[in-house]
Symmetry: C2
Subunit: 404 residues, 2 copies
């Protein structure tokens, strides 16, 4: 008789964003005339840039002709894309990352949830709190959770590193030593970004205790300050302790196109075994590559035209971030983030819980945000807003906040 | 100190098709003037059909305009595609499968390797021997292998069900009771297909012992005989014991586009828990959907024009299958498969091992096939050829075989 993976049953509720989507749908069904503004899920709204659209059309044409048709992609991605990534995201920044250390995938969500597979099931993970739920949930599913406490809303085997007002939303080295440390900077959900000096402390610590850092750089394109690193490989010693995850979703609007990549330096080893080899084995066995046409779209991200167009796109969203930040601050709310990040992290007013505020916002002014508690216990009393809406909707949402 | 997943180290060698690719590259590098014909990996060669190309272009245009841009896809796939699948692949065949039991993904390889995650790690798996390596490898990685014997080339905890000449390459119910049974019909690599009666025996057995069948229907489009089922849900009782996997790679040439789907009926349960819910949770947590433009391409597969064009494409490949089957038979080789499948399974001549024959073929006549032993111990002494080449190359390859 087959048995299910019981660890799945430990997951509290459904995936955060599915829950929000259901609540919003239910409200809309009951109130069909109300116009809802969504600043909840981190989904972009601007169309794909013209040069990327051209690359897509051209690749589609190739797929329609026998001479230029492309079947299965190389396991780890096409060389044209991996070379463009190595050159632009690393060499241009003085980082020692080679093209054959880059694994192209269909997005950072898959990579950040699958990466734990190459580690022993008794590895102990540490996560920031609040945190992108996927890091925790994927480890719970793999049996690294222990028991769940409904009182503290935490798992017994997970090390939580609070990111709070007190530490400027940048977590400190935990008391207990982890084996795997998830870091995301600029951070989702708080919008806080680590300086190079702050990140170097983590790299040195990981090398000292033999931990590996899973570094999620999904939001690096939003960095506006000089002393904030775009890659963990800007820090000395990162090649022996860090895996880096990148998304094309936020820097190029690929949420609906699906493309990402993971870097595993060949210097990152457990004894003689390179983590690079294990991840390559996983890719070869359990994955068949991102679509050719999407990889060509990824290449166009690094063309001169692509870069120029995307710079404008990022500026558009960052103008929204400024509108939200300034508008809410002026309206008396306590806000942070939004400077190196498309996320604004606000304190809920009048001591409301995150979900109370969510419900009130939806009901009274039809603005959707993400309840901070959905990201972990230290997110309680906070609320995440994203700059990914249209400018018009963002301005309108801020006006609605003021009317609350 | 982090530790790796030691189960990865149990996998013998690299992924089969990576090994072949490396051998072929090495030979080509040493013999740049030789023209190699590849009938090895099951990759298609015909371009994407015109109506699908049009759908892709149209969807790309949508992505370039704010009004029609699509971000994150719904967790389980767009309704337009799931409805088309339910209607055409199931309702039209009288199968009771609803659209909300269909999970759209980026391909059957991912699905068939990920599906094991929702089961307990102590579930015992049974696989045909020979078998598509991904079923076994993904379970080894998840700790369901036990110990590997280099003598027998088998894992102690896996139940192997030999598919040999004796049983017409259709395995029999094993002596030991499995929890999870992987079946693929029409079969990769042998090309054999189960009749509805034969499959019904498995469905009845699974329901009796409480096993779940993972049914890989990737090659159903190649079925030419009336009594061979296109879906396991044509069998009575399959809704309480079977998961079905589909690929768009072979029926529509999507190897480079990436699209597939999995069906989990809501009647398939462990106690109160629907496997459907667990897989939905996995999709929501660890996956972000297939690209919008690829899902639109999938929809076009079911349009009248798409169906007509793909019927021709399948006929093209099946003509190749006939060329290989008839040609090799006339040349004195022992062959099977190729009637309901794009694969021809041949016995190696003169008692050669599969890899000896691979090397000889590559060296002497520059034809690449897949060594049967790469699919499992009972594949030793066999060789797989695919009908996915061009007609011209297929004819040329058969001539080369004759000259051996």
């Amino acid at each position: 008789m087959f048995k299910i993976n019981e660890d799945y049953l430990k997951l509290p509720g459904s995936y955060l964003f599915s829950t929000i989507a259901k609540k919003v749908s239910a409200f809309q069904a009951e109130n069909p005339d109300k116009k809802i503004i969504r600043l909840g899920i981190g989904d972009v709204t601007q169309p794909i840039a013209p040069s990327i659209i051209r690359a897509l059309h051209s690749a589609v044409d190739e797929m329609g002709e026998a001479e230029t048709f492309h079947g299965y992609a190389p396991d780890l991605g096409y060389a044209f894309l991996r070379d463009a990534i190595a050159e632009n995201d690393y060499h241009a920044r003085g980082c020692d990352v080679q093209a054959d250390e880059i694994f192209v995938s269909d997005g950072a969500k898959c990579d950040c949830s699958n990466i734990q597979e190459i580690f022993s099931s008794d590895c102990k993970i540490a996560v920031c709190d609040p945190v992108y739920p996927v890091y925790v949930d994927s480890n719970i599913m793999a049996g690294r959770g222990g028991t769940y406490s409904t009182l503290t809303e935490t798992f017994s085997d997970v090390i939580y590193m609070p990111a709070t007002e007190t530490n400027g939303f940048c977590p400190e080295i935990p008391d207990e030593t982890p084996d795997i440390i998830y870091l995301c900077s600029p951070n989702n959900p708080t919008g806080a970004a680590m300086t190079k000096g702050q990140l170097q402390v983590w790299v040195d610590y990981a090398n000292k205790v033999g931990a590996v850092i899973i570094y999620d750089a999904a939001y690096e394109a939003y960095i506006s300050e000089e002393n904030v690193p775009h890659s963990i490989y800007e820090c000395e010693g990162a090649r022996t302790c860090a895996i880096e995850l990148h998304s094309f979703s936020k820097n190029a609007g690929f949420t609906g196109l699906r493309l990402g990549y993971t870097v595993i330096p060949k210097d990152l080893k457990d004894g003689d075994v390179m983590l690079h080899s294990l991840w390559a084995r996983r890719h070869g066995t359990k994955y068949n590559g991102a679509p050719y046409i999407i990889q060509r779209a990824g290449e166009a991200v690094y063309s001169p035209e692509g870069k120029a167009e995307l710079k404008e796109q990022i500026a558009y969203y960052m103008k929204n971030a400024r509108v939200i930040y300034d508008g809410l601050k002026a309206a008396g709310y306590q806000v942070s983030g939004g400077v190196n990040s498309p996320y604004i992290w606000m304190k809920t007013p009048k001591g409301m819980t995150s979900w109370e505020f969510f419900d009130q916002l939806l009901k009274n002014v039809q603005v959707v945000g993400t309840p901070g508690s959905g990201f972990g216990p230290s997110g309680e009393g906070y609320f995440r807003l994203t700059a990914f809406g249209t400018y018009e909707n963002t301005v309108a949402a801020v006006e609605r906040f003021k009317s609350l």
